[in-house]
Structures are given as C-alpha cells and as structure tokens.
C-alpha cells in the first residue's frame, strides 16, 4: 500500500507538519463563516495555487482528486437545483477549497511525521491513562503490514471455491476470511510480547497456546 505522500521541495513541503494542520483546521472553520462569493472565490483560487505549487502534475492530481471532486460536483448540482444558483456556488467553492488544502497537506507530510504528530497529541491522553501513545504507531504499522495478507487470503479462498466448484458467496468468503485472520492474532500478540516491544510488565497466559 503506497501512501499519497509525494516527494518534493516546494515551500509547503519544507513547512513543518503542525502549521499545515493548523492551517487546515482554521480553514475548515473559517470557510463556514462567510457566504461571500468573492471571498470564497479568492480562497479557492489561493488553495488551487497552493496545490499547484506542489508539482504533482495534472494527470496525477486528476486521479487523486477525481472521486471527491465528483461527489462535490453532484452535491453542488443538487443544491443548485433544489435551492438556488448562489447556494450551489457557495457549496462548490467551499468544499473545493477545503479539499485542495487537505490534499496539499496529505501530499507533503510523510506517514512517519504524521504518526509522530499524533503520538505527541496523544501524550496528554496517555497521562490520563486512556491510551498508550506508542501503541498508535504500532497499530498503524500492523494494519499496513497485514492488509496484503488479508487480500492474499481472500484470493486463496476464491480459488478454493473455484477448485471445489462452489459458488462464491458473501458469507462463505467473509466468515473463513475473518476467522483465519483473527486466529493469527494470538501468535502476533505473543510475538509482540516476546520481543518486549510494548514494554509490558506482565505476560498474560494465552488461552489457546498448545
């Protein structure tokens, strides 16, 4: 699974992650305070310039933004038909601006920096005993690691169906997929504890170790 991060040396790339995230948060609130087509138009233009400065290219940008642009267009069109021209325009400009800023942040912050920011943000919660901040990075890594494995299992199950002349049905695929995947949890958890990765003081006995 490849991240949507894009290597680059633009101004926005060099900016540290935190001001970028603050910019996005501020924009997402500020854009809803105004209905002025001029202001919204200017901010959309600024967001487009920002996104354009990253050097992603038209084709790559289209692939990335198409699905969200499509929903924005549909919703803006529906608003235009249901309410008014002006309402439709406001929705279109607001959401497009937000999408461009958000996409610009995503394209310029590598996953590692994101995880560092989140881990840092989770520290106060850690002091309250709600989460262990280091678990966040570990969890993210685990998911990225096991998605290809789940997909592989899915393909093997489909082949097993075909080999036995069975019709591929939602339940006969999903049930074994989930059971097989979750059953490996015990061994993965044991591996994490055995390597002392979470620094747990006490090991727990696994109920189905043999």
């Amino acid at each position: 699974m490849n991240s949507l991060y894009v290597e680059g040396d633009s101004f926005f790339h060099r900016l540290p992650p935190r001001p970028k995230l603050i910019l996005l948060l501020t924009a997402s609130l500020a854009l809803f305070l105004t209905r002025s087509p001029l202001l919204l138009g200017l901010s959309a233009g600024a967001a487009a310039l920002l996104y354009g400065s990253l050097g992603i290219g038209w084709q790559q940008s289209w692939i990335r933004l198409r699905p969200i642009l499509l929903t924005i267009a549909i919703v803006a069109l529906a608003t235009l038909v249901l309410n008014s021209m002006e309402e439709g325009g406001v929705v279109l400009l607001r959401l497009t601006t937000l999408m461009l800023i958000a996409a610009a942040v995503t394209a310029t912050v590598p996953i590692g920096s994101f995880i560092d920011e989140i881990t840092l943000a989770a520290r106060p919660m850690e002091r309250l005993g709600l989460v262990k901040a280091a678990d966040i990075g570990l969890s993210v890594g685990l998911v990225i690691r096991f998605v290809p494995e789940v997909v592989l299992r899915f393909q093997q199950l489909r082949q097993a169906h075909q080999a036995r002349g069975l019709k591929v049905r939602a339940t006969t695929m999903i049930v074994p997929l989930i059971i097989q995947t979750l059953k490996s949890a015990d061994e993965i958890a044991a591996a994490i504890d055995a390597r002392g990765i979470r620094g747990q003081r006490h090991a727990r006995n696994l109920e189905d170790s043999r």
């Binding site: 890594g141 990225i144 061994e187 055995a194 990765i197 620094g199 003081r201 170790s209």
Partner: protein, 226 residues
C-alpha cells in the same frame, strides 16, 4: 546459561498442558520433540515467560519468569512456528528496528545494529523489502534477525523447518549451526536435531524422554507407531 523448572506445570482451565516437572537445562543445543498437542510448545513458551506456570516456578539465570518476565524475555528470544506472524511491521528494516526502540538507543546505534545483524545472516538485500513478499526461507532468516538483534543469550525456535523446501531447509540448518547463542528447537524434523546435545520428548503433557538424541528419538518412534 541456566534454565530451571521447579515442579513447574501449566493448566488452561481444566486442560493440563504441561504436568509439573523439575529439570535444569544448560546444554548449548537442546531439541524438544513430541506428537501434535503433546505440550512441547507450551513447555517452550514457559521458558521465556509467555506462559507463566500455574504451579511451581521457572527461572532463567536466576530470574523468575512470573515476576521478572521482562528481564527473562530480554534473555530469551522466541521464533514462532509461523514467521509470517512474527514480522510485525511492513518493511523488514522497520521491523528489526522495533525491538531496538524500547532500548532507548541513539539513531546511529540502531542503524549499526541493524546493519550488523543483516550482514550476519547475509540478508542485506532484503532490508527494504516488504514482509509479505519474502519466501519461506527468507522469512525464517528475517525472523531470526529481528529477534537476535537485541542480543538474547538463548533463542527458541518453534518448528523452524516446517513447510520449507529442501534448499531453504538446508539454509536454516546451516544458519542454526552458526549461532553462538544457546539454541532450543522444537521440531518434527528428526534429521535436523540428530546431533543435538540433549533431546526432550513430551507425550500427553508429560516429559517422557530426556537424554541423547539417538535414545530419545527411538522412544519417540515407538510412541508414534502405537
């Protein structure tokens, strides 16, 4: 290196996995054999505290696995039956670094340790590869590297040659011979362990054989045929 079981046993609910037993291990190469479900994996997991005894106690170099589990696991590495589940992070290099992170080493020290362990197993070329792309033998070596990078004194391997082709099996066998660490191997692959220093044989949760490979393996063949 000194592993002691003192009347140590493990029970899960009402199922006795390992009956209480007393023994001490100090040989450099120990094998554990037995039929499926005989208790050999539970016994091995008791050595590094992944399973704490429900009766008696287990110590490694004097540390109790129940009360000093973390220190025991620092001394005893464990390679699981399915190395697929052992590699925790997507990229091999990241995964190896994971075990070092909890040691609070400098970034340079972490890099050096990773380079050294990759070179030791001759798998420098795999460092940037994704775990799910590795072959069975490569995965086994990668799992060894990720565990041995933290310098445990003892390493336990659960069926390391299971499901490997002949070439990969030979690769793992050769690698096992080069390890300086104390090696404890659980295996159905009797050829792999025939020159080990000591073999333990479990049957239905009990330690039924303990001694030189030739004698214990002969006893095991009788039980398996019965």
């Amino acid at each position: 290196m000194d592993i002691r079981f003192e009347q140590a046993g493990a029970t899960f609910g009402d199922r006795v996995a390992v009956e209480p037993l007393t023994l001490s291990l100090s040989e450099r190469r120990v094998a554990i054999i037995g039929l499926n479900g005989s208790g050999k994996t539970t016994f091995a997991r008791m050595i590094n505290g992944l399973v704490v005894p429900t009766s008696g106690r287990v110590t490694v170099n004097g540390s109790d696995t129940a009360s000093a589990g973390e220190s025991v696991r620092r001394q005893v590495g464990f390679i699981f039956q399915n190395p697929q589940n052992q590699i925790i992070l997507p990229i091999l290099r990241e995964d190896i670094a994971l075990g070092l992170k909890s040691r609070r080493l400098s970034a340079a020290a972490v890099d050096d340790a990773i380079e050294a362990i990759l070179a030791r197993f001759g798998i420098e070329h795999l460092a940037a590869r994704r775990a799910h792309e590795l072959s069975g033998g490569e995965l086994q070596l990668a799992a060894l590297a990720s565990v041995l990078v933290t310098d445990p004194e003892i390493v336990i391997l659960d069926e390391p040659t299971n499901q490997l082709d002949l070439r990969n099996r030979a690769l793992v066998e050769r690698t096992l011979r080069t390890l300086d660490e104390t090696v404890i191997v659980i295996s159905h692959d009797l050829a792999l362990i025939e020159d080990f220093d000591r073999v333990l044989m479990f049957h239905e949760g009990r330690l039924l054989g303990d001694g030189a490979p030739r004698d214990v393996i002969a006893g095991y063949r009788k039980i398996a045929a019965a």
